[in-house]
């Protein structure tokens, strides 16, 4: 069961993103009020705002943490067409005594001519890299060649997506068998039904990102996209927030079978599709083992999805904005009428292995 802890965020406009750090002890929020706040969890489990500062001159769409190996580093992106990298300053000061920390801007990435809609650090094994995407349909990949110098970033790749981009996700797999891969979603709302999710893969030979796949079935505006933590899986799981929640698996087809050098071919299956939010889905987020997906939609609810041993994804919980479980099975939709509507003991359902699945 979940306990809701309400936090007085005190942002002066909408909060657009929340992000936990690597260790789950810190949280960052960003808002249209152009500020980012950092929250630290105290011993008692309370969240305290330890920093709040103006980051941009427009709505801040996203905030994301870098791997702590690179320091306490945040990246933010904004309507003001920039993305910025921030670092926490360690040192004795009055701020520290008041329980406040100080963040300084290390760089501003100004290449976009339109609103930067998402920013994501690459998986750690790739080094200190980050990707941004913008409303003009360009994904940019930056690298800090010297991880000790956060103020120097070079633009490594520019990938044109032809569609206004809204979200990106790195494939987190650390396997050498999986080339760096990035999925891009578009919220382009023009009526011409073009596929809104593209997947780009790094090609060692050409040293460029090339389109590996397009999810043709996703034609509605996509608001969020998330690869599940890979954790040694041979395939990838991708969650998409569009007018419904969708979960795809991407199984790389063995290299020997495909022509070498070209992009990896994937066997793509849609394994779940839920319209239980009855409206636009805004966010999807995976738990740390990639076994539970949380989604939030215009109904103001968070829904949790989990696969059973047959690889059937089902709703395992609904959380309202105020944390109480939603009652009434009508909320659950018709796809899984047998499901109980209250939240099961997550302790059990999160034990990824307690529910087995026949290995194929």
């Amino acid at each position: 069961m979940f306990v809701a802890r309400s936090i007085a965020a005190d942002h002066k406009d909408l909060i657009h993103d929340v992000s936990f750090d690597f260790h789950g002890r810190r949280m960052a929020t960003c808002s249209s009020d152009q500020s980012v706040k950092v929250w630290d969890k105290s011993e008692s489990g309370d969240w305290h705002c330890t920093a709040s500062w103006k980051t941009h001159s427009g709505s801040v769409w996203r905030v994301t943490w870098a791997h702590p190996e690179f320091g306490q580093v945040l990246a933010s992106c904004s309507f003001d067409r920039t993305a910025a990298v921030w670092e926490e300053i360690v040192g004795e000061s009055n701020d520290k005594l008041r329980g406040q920390s100080h963040w300084v801007k290390r760089t501003t990435l100004v290449d976009s001519r339109t609103s930067v809609t998402d920013v994501k650090f690459a998986p750690k094994h790739m080094g200190l890299m980050l990707a941004t995407c913008s409303a003009d349909g360009i994904v940019r990949i930056y690298e800090a060649p010297d991880v000790m110098n956060l103020s120097q970033w070079s633009l490594q790749h520019e990938i044109s997506c032809k569609l206004s981009c809204s979200c990106i996700s790195w494939n987190p797999s650390s396997s050498r068998a999986h080339s760096p891969m990035i999925a891009v979603g578009s919220d382009d709302s023009s009526p011409n039904a073009m596929a809104k999710v593209q997947i780009f893969e790094y090609n060692e030979n050409t040293r460029k990102y090339a389109k590996a796949e397009t999810l043709m079935t996703v034609t509605d505006p996509v608001h969020d996209i998330a690869f599940a933590p890979n954790l040694g899986r041979s395939f990838h799981i991708l969650a998409i927030a569009t007018k419904d929640v969708r979960i795809f698996t991407l199984k790389p087809v063995r290299k020997e079978l495909t022509s070498s050098g070209g992009p990896t071919k994937f066997e793509i299956h849609i394994v779940a599709q839920f319209d239980n939010h009855n409206s636009q889905v805004w966010r999807v987020s995976w738990n740390i083992t990639g076994t539970v997906l949380a989604s939030s939609g215009d109904d103001g609810c968070v829904r949790l999805w989990k696969a059973n041993y047959m690889d059937n994804w089902k709703c395992t919980g609904i959380l309202k904005g105020n944390g109480s479980p939603v009652n009434g099975s009508s909320q659950l939709g018709n796809s899984n009428p047998s499901l109980s509507s209250n939240i099961p003991n997550l302790q059990n359902s999160l034990n990824g292995s307690s529910a087995g699945r026949k290995h194929s």
């Binding site: 979940f2 306990v3 936090i7 942002h11 002066k12 406009d13 909408l14 909060i15 993103d17 992000s19 936990f20 690597f22 260790h23 789950g24 949280m27 929020t29 249209s32 427009g58 309507f79 003001d80 067409r81 750690k124 094994h125 650390s174 396997s175 050498r176 068998a177 608001h223 954790l231 040694g232 041979s234 805004w282 966010r283 987020s285 740390i288 949380a294 989604s295 939030s296 939609g297 215009d298 109904d299 103001g300 609810c301 968070v302 059973n308 041993y309 309202k320 904005g321 105020n322 944390g323 302790q347 059990n348 999160l350 292995s353 307690s354 529910a355 087995g356 699945r357 026949k358 290995h359």
Partner: protein, 790 residues
């Protein structure tokens, strides 16, 4: 332009109709101004000065005011203004400092009326008095503002800005004598046209130049100013001191600001660099523009609302040489596209959720609100100018925490910390890990460990050292196993016999004798086992019948799945083989006879029954094993590891990989192993399980993983005696030839954990130093340093 729509507005007497449209100009525009009939617009620039008629479908060029063969600098316009009372009267400000008035009523081609050459530098702005037909005001880069009476040849009065360049001048709409001027130093001044000697009021409005200002058309005291500091500020000028009412933060320096007609809180802005868009803001929501026009490809230089009482038509001129008419309902609305929710899954299974308050509130409210809530999503909301302001949008932030402190990932942490991966015999490791898993309620994992033990801990495989070890602790390793199967019908006598046997087995001299007898026992037991059928069936995974008895702890799920996958169909052929092939003893005999069997192995064989007879199961297992080498199971084990990995339980995959070591390593390709290791290590580090993570790195056989531990970490140490850096390797100082790692408390050389103060280089055993520091903060070496340990 697929989104163009048509709008006609009923105004008093006349109706404005039109659509979003644009026309190409010959040259970049610097400024535009609309005629009071709202049907014509004048565009002025460095090399353009034209009047266009605004028709329903298009702009039509009506008049080119740039006449004459040789281009005159007087025609290079920085600003243009159309008189709001006289349709024939225009004024332009030239970059060479000349102010020109134009009379469209003149019959000749050249409409130029009067020429004022009083300014010395560029005139940035000209402004007609809103009600007085003949009064024109100009503001120039030279720091002066001049008031002209069009009936006279030169200026009536000059206002000095104290050599600060004037960027904008605007007559107040309501106060007859008042005008505002803005300056490059960030100041705004308020003047009375009757008093040119000094300004009525002056205040600093912005950091850096104030490029523009606009009086509110209705609110008498409100002045909006825009500056290079990217801000638009709204001032209440009625109070004694100008009071900042609102502040809008835009993304680029503000070049023009214009209040939107009929919308008290709306104003339009454009920028002079970087940003080509025109924004309309509601000053009460200062962070998100209410509307955005994105038509221009270059900087927008002039904006004007088409009619002073129509809020839907906006005209703009741009450096991209186009003139545009924007329809408000065609504007893109960033608010609508903005994501109202944030969601993040935390490490411990907690969820952070931020949502627009109205969404959350609607959710907790009654059903009827449901429709309203979704309305704006499916139908693009028509922006009604009269629409009441819904208030500042705000979000509710909450963190959903899993109950019971540790959260739902505690099983992972516990498992990681308690698993034994090395240092003990395989059987014991498996048993231990099975126990850990069972205690954490993870029965499937527990069973897997138990099975691994059965598969691999066969007499032929366990080395003698391992075995001796396990024999010594026989009860501790055998009994849990037994418990796990909950075997009820095991004879207690057998167990005691076993212990007896074991004690004998320890003495080497008896080995040979025991060998045969033990084999015999084994055989007998086997027969029994097969007869009774219970354990054998269990091993075959064909336990549906006894399931409930065997797994009292299991949850429903595990029940049905367990037999399905842990031992898939492969188990069945196994059984047939057993039936078909000759019975155990011969096989064992063969083994003993073969020259490959070392003493150790013989030992093992003899001791095996001892070890396993404490549980019937192991005995029966020994039988199978004697026919089926563990290799037989390797496919199964490999599949099992892959299964766990695909399920997201990389912990199990890696733990088994480490525990089994060489036994399975060859079956799984190097890349996959490395992938599992790196994934697991990453996960451990997330949970700050550094010790476990290091152990895993150490135990891994993958080169790419084990080198993680050898990544460059350099310790710089000073000798505790001579305080000089220790340059050589090791702990003996080059200079004073003494061992530097002496404990300052007990004066012994420290092996293992050595802590030292980086200030005085003294240190010692962790425990000693900790204890010392409880009593004193000074260095235990007596150097007087107040040691600091982090």
């Amino acid at each position: 332009m697929e989104k163009m729509s048509r709008v006609s507005t009923a105004l008093s007497g006349s109706a404005l109709t039109g659509r979003t449209m644009h026309c190409h100009l010959d040259a970049p525009a610097n400024a535009i101004s609309v005629c009071r009939d709202a049907a014509q617009v004048v565009v002025a620039g460095r090399s353009i000065f034209k009047i266009y008629a605004i028709e329903e479908e298009q702009f039509v060029e009506k008049l080119n005011l740039r006449v004459g063969r040789k281009p005159s600098l007087n025609l290079s316009c920085a600003d243009v203004v159309w008189h709001q009372m006289d349709e024939n009267l225009l004024a332009t400000a030239a970059t060479n400092g000349v102010v020109v008035t134009w009379n469209l009523g003149r019959p000749s081609r050249n409409k130029q009326d009067q020429l004022f050459t009083e300014h010395k530098r560029t005139v940035n702005k000209v402004c007609f008095h809103p009600t007085e037909a003949h009064v024109l005001l100009s503001g120039s880069q030279d720091g002066f503002m001049k008031c002209f009476d069009l009936r006279r040849k030169d200026s009536v009065s000059t206002f000095s800005g104290q050599s600060e360049s004037v960027r904008d001048v605007q007559f107040s709409i309501r106060d007859y004598f008042t005008f505002a001027s803005t300056f490059e130093n960030g100041n705004v001044q308020l003047w009375d046209i009757r008093r040119p000697d000094r300004c009525e009021r002056m205040f600093t409005a912005h950091n850096g130049p104030v490029f523009c200002c606009d009086w509110h058309p209705e609110d008498r005291g409100w002045l909006a100013t825009g500056g290079r500091d990217k801000m638009v500020k709204v001032w209440d000028m009625t109070t004694h001191r100008a009071k900042e009412m609102h502040c809008v933060q835009t993304i680029a320096s503000v070049a023009r600001v214009k209040w939107r007609p009929e919308c008290r809180h709306h104003l339009a802005t454009c920028s002079m660099m970087v940003d080509h868009n025109i924004y309309v803001w509601d000053v009460r929501r200062p962070f998100v523009p209410a509307a955005m026009f994105e038509e221009h490809r270059d900087v927008t230089t002039g904006i004007a609302w088409r009619h002073p009482h129509d809020p839907s038509f906006l005209l703009s001129g741009s450096k991209d040489s186009t003139l545009c008419q924007h329809l408000f309902r065609d504007a893109s609305q960033p608010v609508e596209r903005a994501n109202p929710e944030g969601l993040c899954y935390g490490l411990f299974g907690d969820l952070a959720f931020a949502a627009k308050e109205s969404l959350v509130a609607a959710e907790s409210g009654r059903k009827p609100y449901a429709g309203d809530r979704r309305h704006p999503i499916f139908f693009k909301r028509k922006l009604d100018p009269a629409e009441p302001f819904s208030g500042l949008a705000s979000s509710a932030l909450s963190v959903f925490e899993t109950e019971s402190g540790g959260g739902s990932m505690s099983w992972f942490v516990d498992t990681a910390e308690r698993y034994a991966l090395t240092g003990r015999p395989l059987a014991e490791l498996c048993d231990h890990n099975a126990k850990v898993a069972r205690e954490l309620g993870r029965n499937q994992v527990a069973q897997t460990w138990t099975m691994l033990r059965i598969i691999y801990c066969s007499p032929g495989l366990v080395s003698s050292t391992n075995l001796n070890h396990s024999v010594g602790k026989g009860s501790s390793c055998g009994l849990p196993l037994m418990n796990s199967f909950n075997l009820k019908d095991m004879g207690p006598g057998l167990a005691s016999e076993t212990r007896l046997d074991r004690s004998k087995g320890d003495t080497r001299s008896d080995t040979a004798l025991l060998d045969s007898s033990a084999t015999l026992i084994t055989n007998e037991d086997n027969e029994e086992t097969e007869g009774s059928d219970v354990p054998a069936d269990y091993l075959l995974g064909d336990v549906e019948g006894e399931e409930d008895e065997l797994y009292p702890l299991d949850t429903e799920h595990v029940h049905s799945e367990e037999p399905e996958y842990v031992l898939p169909q492969e188990a069945f052929p196994l059984r047939h083989e057993i039936v078909d092939t000759p019975s155990g003893p011969e096989h064992l005999q063969d083994k003993a006879d073969s020259p490959h069997v070392s003493g150790n192995e013989a030992d093992t064989a003899s001791l095996a029954p001892v070890d396993s007879s404490s549980s019937l199961l192991s005995v029966s297992h020994a039988l199978y094993d004697s026919r089926l080498p563990p290799d037989f199971f390797s496919v199964l084990v490999r599949d099992m590891l892959h299964f766990y990995a695909e399920q997201g339980d990389v912990q199990m995959a890696v733990s088994v990989l480490i525990v089994l070591g060489e036994r399975v390593r060859k079956d799984i390709d190097e890349q996959t192993q490395e992938h599992w290791y790196t994934s697991y290590i990453d996960l451990l580090q997330r949970f700050c399980l550094w010790n476990v993570s290091n152990e895993v790195v150490k135990l891994s056989t993958s080169r790419a993983v084990s080198c993680l531990n050898q990544a460059s970490t350099t310790l710089h140490v000073n000798c505790s005696h001579c305080k000089r850096p220790m340059s050589s390797r090791g702990w003996v100082c080059d200079r004073c030839h003494r061992c530097a790692s002496m404990c300052a408390v007990c004066h012994h050389v420290v092996k293992g954990l050595f802590v030292w103060c980086q200030g005085c280089s003294h240190g010692g055993h962790l425990q000693h130093i900790m204890k010392w520091l409880e009593g004193s903060s000074q260095c235990p070496a007596g150097c007087g340093h107040l040691c600091e340990y982090s």
